[in-house]
């Protein structure tokens, strides 16, 4: 049975290899091949899941060692997998949502001549992501970690002929690389501290290490998580990543890859639990991002960028929860799963809208689409209700738990975090309502495209709507299912551990507060956007709005602090290299040449001066010889 674990990764990897190397012969059915590979992996995942269900909690985690990968004396890293409750959760999410999105893409990418390659990249992504969650050591995790980065790079830049897409892809990879530095250093720290980089080894020895060492490792892991999960301060790439095809945004930049940071922190709980300062840092990052993303989401007119802001904010919730320690791990993962459903659904809905609107993304050019795209409207709407935490739907259960956990942190910290999460909930409700109203309600504000064609919105084909419907089911029921009888808590607890904390507020009070915040957000949005016609051109807005439209000036900041000085430094070094180092050498050569030309003048062709030099030389010789004796 365990030998199925490598096949989880191998199936999509083989699919990717076939699709990318296969040539044009595969053009006709390549997309189905890709979908099949994903589905196969999902089936393997299910089989493994059920076999795991059949074992007792202590025997659920299994290891599968393939081969020794990097063996150098003390440093040993193997290609070896670990499947436990946490990873199987991810496996199911990844392969499940992944399969649906493959299916969706069959329709969405139908007219793209490079569709085969698109599926190849998607399969590659799945393989890397599965490797990430299945690795039993940090170095192999790192392979998956960067592998998903690569897939993300390839898919964001899939429409490479668009310079904006190519730039966005590069930016995503670069920012992620900064995070990867953190992961690298964390692994090196683990090696120097423990002489080991496997999960079991490191976690087993963690309690012997000093707090400062653990804090350092924790902070470096946080840096990695920030990069991958688009958390402040490495958040800037996610908005731009929306340049990729919408299925990509749904799968990678909403449901799975961006949540890898949450996985990493949860997985490394043994380290974080012993490093409170690192945990504090995690919580702060989560809290800041939570608000940051939400504010950005309020200001964006591009539907995908608004959703991206929302993703950032929701992952902020998860990171925050993960930073709370055993109080929050389970809920972080739970929110991750529910978010995977409803956010993927929302993105697919947005893709469906764009599909119908000739790839228009500006919500101010939408309006009144609910009648023309009923399925999209309903599925999107369910996703909307889920995300704002409408009671009974997925988001309600998971988000509510996180808010409770935030309060449960205790002390001033708990109050602050609770307040932040509540504000976040309100703002979430506001911007999501805004998205709903702008897109599906109100009057038509459709604009002709560059060639003057009016859009003719229409419902998407079945390959696209089916996944949306499935995901909508997930958005509605997943939360309840997981929360029911605390089944998810019990499932994960052996891996992550759990503690209740001591909340100053009862869970009912928290729920009520959350409800109130949500309603306030919805109401405000309706007051602003629902009661009066929405202008096609955005109003100037307040300073905050303008800043939020520019992603709260994050790019400007990066540009001013990193890019511009960086390019200036590079230019200066280019100059230094040619004028300084080379100049020094050339100068040396020129000096020798100069001495040579000057010395040459002594060779003036006159016998007498030659004789003089000989005579002078003789005198010096005689004098030196005599002098040497007298000394």
């Amino acid at each position: 049975m365990n030998s199925l674990i490598p096949l989880l990764v191998a199936a999509p990897l083989a699919g990717a290899a076939l699709l990318l190397l296969g040539g044009r012969a595969l053009d006709r059915f390549g997309h189905w091949l890709g979908t099949f590979a994903a589905a196969l992996s999902f089936v393997f995942g299910l089989v493994l899941f059920f076999s795991m269900l059949g074992r007792s909690a202590a025997q659920r985690p299994v290891q599968e060692h393939l081969f020794s990968w990097v063996p150098v004396n003390g440093f040993q890293a193997d290609v070896s997998f670990q499947l436990d409750q946490l990873s199987v959760t991810f496996v199911l999410l990844i392969t499940g949502v992944g399969t649906l999105i493959h299916l969706y893409s069959v329709g969405y990418m139908a007219h793209d001549e490079r569709r085969r390659r698109f599926f190849g990249y998607l399969n590659l992504f799945l393989a890397a992501m599965l490797l990430l969650v299945l690795a039993d050591n940090y170095l192999l995790l790192y392979v998956g970690w960067e592998g998903v980065g690569l897939a993300s790079y390839l898919l964001i830049g899939f429409w490479q002929h668009k310079p904006s897409a190519a730039t966005a892809a590069k930016k995503a990879f670069l920012v992620n690389r900064v995070g990867d530095v953190g992961l690298s250093i964390a692994i090196m720290l683990m090696f120097t501290d423990f002489g080991n980089v496997t999960f079991n080894g490191v976690f087993g020895a963690a309690d012997q290490a000093s707090k400062s060492q653990l804090t350092a490792i924790g902070l470096m892991l946080l840096l990695a998580a920030c990069g991958k999960s688009a958390q402040v301060p490495l958040q800037s790439w996610l908005g731009d990543a929306m340049e990729g095809p919408t299925p990509v945004s749904a799968l990678i930049h909403a449901a799975t890859m961006v949540t890898a940071g949450v996985y990493l922190i949860t997985r490394s709980g043994a380290i974080f639990n012993l490093a409170p300062q690192a945990q504090t840092a995690v919580v702060c990052v989560g809290a800041v991002t939570l608000l940051f993303g939400a504010i950005v989401g309020c200001a964006k007119d591009d539907i995908k960028k608004a959703l991206a802001g929302s993703t950032m904010s929701q992952i902020g919730y998860m990171i925050l929860a993960a930073g709370l320690g055993p109080i929050g791990y389970v809920f972080a993962i739970m929110h991750l799963v529910t978010h995977g459903f409803f956010k993927a659904g929302l993105f697919l809905g947005a893709g469906s809208v764009m599909h119908g609107m000739d790839d228009e993304v500006n919500m101010r050019h939408y309006g009144g689409l609910r009648k023309l795209m009923p399925i999209t409207f309903v599925t999107f709407g369910l996703g909307y209700l889920a995300i704002i935490g409408f009671p009974g739907l997925s988001g309600f259960f998971s988000k509510d738990k996180i808010i409770e956990a935030a309060f449960a942190k205790g002390g001033t910290e708990g109050w602050i975090l609770g307040a932040v999460t509540l504000i976040g909930a309100a703002v979430t409700a506001f911007y999501m309502t805004r998205v709903m109203i702008l897109t599906f309600f109100g009057e038509k504000r459709w604009q002709p495209d560059a060639e003057g064609h009016q859009p003719h919105p229409h419902e998407s084909p079945a390959t696209m709507t089916t996944p949306m419907i499935v995901l909508a089911f997930g958005s509605v029921f997943a939360g309840g299912l997981l929360a029911f009888n605390s089944s998810f808590l019990k499932w994960l607890e052996p891996i992550t551990g759990h503690s209740e904390g001591n909340s100053p507020l009862s869970s009912t009070v928290v729920t009520l507060l959350t409800m109130a915040c949500m309603l306030a957000g919805v109401g405000l949005a309706y007051a602003v956007y629902g009661r009066s016609p929405v202008p096609v051109t955005p109003p100037v807005g307040s300073v905050l709005t303008r800043a939020a439209r520019r992603d709260l000036l994050q790019d400007d900041f990066n540009h001013a602090v990193l890019v511009r000085p960086g390019s200036a430094l590079a230019a200066a070094l280019v100059y230094f290299d040619s004028k300084g180092l080379d100049g020094f050498v050339n100068g040396l050569a020129a000096t020798i040449g100069g001495i040579s030309s000057r010395l040459r003048r002594v060779q003036n062709g006159y016998v007498r001066s030659y004789a003089l030099s000989m005579f002078g030389g003789t005198l010096v010789l005689v004098a030196t010889t005599l002098l040497m004796r007298s000394v």
Partner: protein, 547 residues
């Protein structure tokens, strides 16, 4: 000398009946005797043979003499005269030992190759329908004058260059073997005087040639005067001019003449004399600051003669220098070494730096020869057996590289004769890759690139110097090698990577003579680079002076 002297003393004693005939070991002196004999025959040929037949006879005679002499050297060496049976000849005025035989062999081989280059008559365009070599038709004729034109037309040739060369070779054979200062002085003059004349005999650019001769002559005799005065002072110090006896006096084994022994001037005489002798020899090897004649003379002299001078003169002069410092003045090591250090450093550095901006290939090679003199001096300074062997080996390898290089120079010609300006060498590698490649090989050997003889020699010399405690010299040597490499590479770049000039020089197809000369050069250069063991052994076996 003292033998001659005692002869006189006894004569003064009116004991005429018992005048012993000086003992002359003709067999062991045969290398020199053969060469001098051939030279004398050559003069007879000049005197009695009709012009048309002189060329062939002279070439044959010279080659026979030189090769015969070389055979004699080899036979002597094989008989062990270089090692176990080494000793003094001609009543102690000539030494027969390893270094002498080794260097004589090198000089003779270099001379053979040079004579091959002399004999080349195919390179220059046929002037007035007559095959012409590198030498003027009539040395006495005014350049560009009617007389010269007529002589050329008549097909005259300066065949006297062969006996002249043989005389020079004879002197050179004697020079490193000379065991007293007088013999050394005589040998110096015997090989210098013919060279002065040879310099003046170029066919083309005769003004330059004559200028070279006059410069060489005046400066050369100036230097000889120093050498002679140094001899006088040393004689004054030691009362003898025989090198081993001088060494004995210096080391106190044999007390000097009482007349001067107590004089406070005593050591001054010795040291000044030593310095002046050194001047004479430094001049010949082209060490800075006694080098200034080298570029001018190398440039002006007929190229085969330049090659001969650059190779053989340097060998002979270094031989004498070695014998002087190793046999006569080993006890004064601490006095002369600092001076030698200075001279060696100056020579390496100035030679290399001055070469950087040269535009004429012959001058470039001249400066390169100066730099090489510096490298060899580092080996002399080592004052150990290793150093001696290393210098011997270096001289062997250097002479063939330099001969080969000058031989190639004779090939590159335009309408005015040899095209020695570097700009006309541009793109040579594209027109005549073989010639350019051969020249590049010689340049690389000069630069000391491994797998060429230049590298082995440089390694041997530097190694000996380092072992002798002259590490700073090695470092200076290495750095100036780097500078030197710059200009060798510049020439290679010019030949291979520059576009040929329109109307640039053509490469003449040589006859078998120059062809052989170049081939020997290539062979020795590569051979001593790749498989030097035999010759290193030879040099090392030879590296013991007889006292």
């Amino acid at each position: 000398m003292s033998a001659v002297h005692s002869l006189w003393m006894e004569a003064a004693g009116a004991n005429t009946a018992s005048i012993p005939a000086p003992k002359i070991e003709y067999g062991q002196l045969s290398p020199m005797l053969i060469v001098f004999g051939a030279a004398l025959l050559g003069i007879l040929v000049e005197a009695f043979l009709p012009r048309r037949r002189r060329y062939g006879v002279q070439v044959a005679l010279a080659l026979t003499g030189l090769i015969g002499s070389f055979v004699a050297v080899v036979v002597l060496a094989a008989d062990g005269y270089g090692t176990t049976k080494s000793g003094l000849l001609a009543m102690g005025s000539v030494a027969l030992d390893g270094p002498a035989l080794f260097l004589q062999g090198v000089i003779l081989l270099a001379a053979v190759v040079s004579v091959l280059m002399y004999a080349e008559r195919r390179l220059d365009a046929r002037v007035e329908g007559v095959a012409s070599d590198a030498f003027t038709a009539q040395g006495a004729a005014t350049p560009g004058g009617e007389q010269e034109r007529q002589a050329t037309k008549a097909g005259f040739a300066s065949t006297e260059v062969y006996p002249l060369t043989l005389f020079a070779v004879g002197g050179m054979l004697l020079f490193p073997a000379a065991n007293d200062l007088l013999t050394m002085f005589v040998a110096l003059e015997v090989f210098s005087l013919p060279l002065y004349l040879l310099c003046a005999l170029a066919r083309r650019r005769r003004l330059l040639s004559q200028e070279a001769a006059v410069k060489y002559f005046l400066l050369g005799s100036f230097a000889s005067a120093f050498f002679l005065f140094g001899t006088a002072l040393l004689y004054g110090y030691a009362g003898t001019v025989r090198l081993p006896e001088i060494a004995d006096v210096i080391s106190g084994v044999a007390p000097s003449t009482p007349a001067l022994a107590n004089s406070t001037q005593n050591d001054a005489l010795l040291l000044i004399g030593l310095a002046m002798l050194a001047v004479g020899l430094f001049f010949k090897v082209g060490a800075v600051p006694f080098h200034s004649w080298t570029p001018d003379v190398y440039q002006g002299a007929p190229t085969p003669v330049t090659g001969f001078m650059a190779a053989a003169t340097k060998v002979a002069a270094f031989g004498a220098l070695l014998r002087l410092f190793y046999v006569a003045f080993p006890g004064l090591r601490w006095d002369w070494r600092p001076v030698m250090w200075g001279v060696a450093i100056l020579t390496m550095v100035v030679g290399a730096i001055l070469a950087v901006t040269q535009q004429d290939v012959k001058r470039l090679l001249a400066y390169s020869s100066i730099a090489h003199a510096g490298f060899i001096l580092t080996g002399v300074i080592a004052t150990n057996r290793q150093g001696l062997g290393a210098v011997l080996f270096y001289l062997l390898s250097y002479s063939f590289v330099t001969l080969g290089a000058f031989a190639v120079v004779t090939l590159v010609r335009d309408s005015k004769g040899e095209a020695t300006h570097l700009s006309s060498w541009a793109g040579l590698g594209r027109r005549s890759p073989l010639v350019a490649a051969v020249f590049a090989l010689f340049l690389l050997a000069f630069a000391g690139i491994p797998l060429t003889s230049g590298f082995t020699g440089k390694f041997a010399v530097f190694q000996a110097a380092a072992a002798g405690g002259a590490t700073p010299l090695v470092i200076v040597g290495v750095l100036s090698s780097a500078v030197a490499a710059f200009f060798y590479i510049r020439v290679i770049v010019l030949m291979f990577f520059s576009d040929p000039q329109p109307g640039g020089p053509a490469v003449a197809v040589p006859s078998v003579f120059t062809g052989t000369a170049i081939a020997v050069g290539v062979l020795v250069t590569v051979g001593l680079g790749v498989l030097p063991q035999y010759f290193l052994d030879l040099a090392s076996k030879a590296s013991m002076f007889v006292r």
